[in-house]
Symmetry: none
Subunit: 213 residues, 2 copies
């Protein structure tokens, strides 16, 4: 069982170039005393080499290119796209619990694209960086990034981003018969009562948490 290794791109094999047995000598100008004169700016070295020249596939892209019209505002993005190539990466599965497990062959689950996996409604999605620890028990840590979708209905029990008194906050929504609360997931903090639903503007529902190790 070896770690997944991307197969190196094979560099073009150098085709042996047939050596020219006969190189036409640089025509020399022979003076009266048989002294050879070099052309101005030349050292007497170098010269034609049949078969010399840059091999194909030695450019930054390793393949031929084509000129394509790109809207001016997207040129940078496109060049970055070409450089980094956002294609789906392999997804494996592994056991954390018992270490008991499935046969090795079952580890490759498929492939995954982050944007596709996490962003269902791009035009309604934005990110929120968290500060604080009031939602620690829900697995939301300081500096985590939340994926927030404002097209999802903020149902009871959902973790939402809301603006209260002009301040953004992340909490779990709790709507009782009589009142609405924004619930923390940390015993050190108290629920925030919302007197009037007009005092709160819900920005969206948290769909994912991204935590950097």
């Amino acid at each position: 069982m070896t770690p997944p290794i991307k197969t190196p791109i094979k560099t073009p094999v150098k085709t042996p170039v047939k050596t020219s047995a006969q190189t036409t000598p640089e025509p020399s100008v022979t003076g009266g005393n048989n002294v050879t004169r070099l052309p101005p700016g030349k050292t007497g070295r170098g010269g034609a080499r049949p078969g010399a020249g840059r091999p194909k596939g030695q450019g930054p892209y390793g393949e031929p290119t084509k000129a394509v019209r790109i809207p001016v505002s997207m040129v940078d993005q496109v060049l970055n796209f070409v450089k980094t190539g956002t294609k789906p990466l392999p997804l494996f599965s592994c056991s954390v619990a018992a270490g008991f497990p499935s046969p090795a062959d079952d580890h490759l689950e498929g492939s995954l694209d982050l944007n596709e996996h996490l962003i269902k409604h791009p035009s309604a999605t934005f990110f929120v960086r968290v500060s604080g620890d009031s939602m620690i028990k829900a697995g939301i840590h300081e500096d985590d990034i939340l994926v927030v979708d404002r097209s999802i209905e903020p149902r009871n029990g959902k973790i939402i981003i809301a603006a209260v008194e002009g301040q953004l906050t992340v909490k779990r929504l709790n709507r009782t018969k009589t009142q609405t609360f924004l619930m923390p997931e940390n015993d050190a903090y108290a629920p925030i009562p919302i007197a009037d639903d007009n005092d709160m503007v819900i920005w969206g529902v948290v769909t994912s948490v991204i935590h950097q190790v």
Copy 2:
């Protein structure tokens, strides 16, 4: 304070074109009988119209384009990218702790692209889906997705993916003077001693955890 709404792209406003009061008449060739002759292939209509011409922003992209070199194999992908545009989404910051906070204007932190943010070395990166809870205290839950980079050196204390006895596992690496351990982050589990480093193959270092709410 309203939820972030994508500002519609303004379509170019058509500038009213000043009508020319004086059009220079087509020079006519007068024959002996005062008969006007048209130039060959012309009907007498048409002619110069100062200010006529296609307005800007009427192409498929609505803006000027630039010719860019794209590797041949990626031309289709790039054109699709330009059409659908997976562009960075807005990133806001918010307070979880005190709910005290910065003024509303400070909430927009910038924009963020998931791939750019999470995948530093695409060719050395893969994902792992977790099963079990032995790393719960490190914020790694059942079914979470781990971003794993095998180009990062597996230093002591890093959370790694390793293959032990043919099974994939996620643990924290602990190298003592005498022995290597794979440490869980859950008191219900015991450290796994590695007798011989050849008994373990490290697949990579965990860089991020993605937890769906």
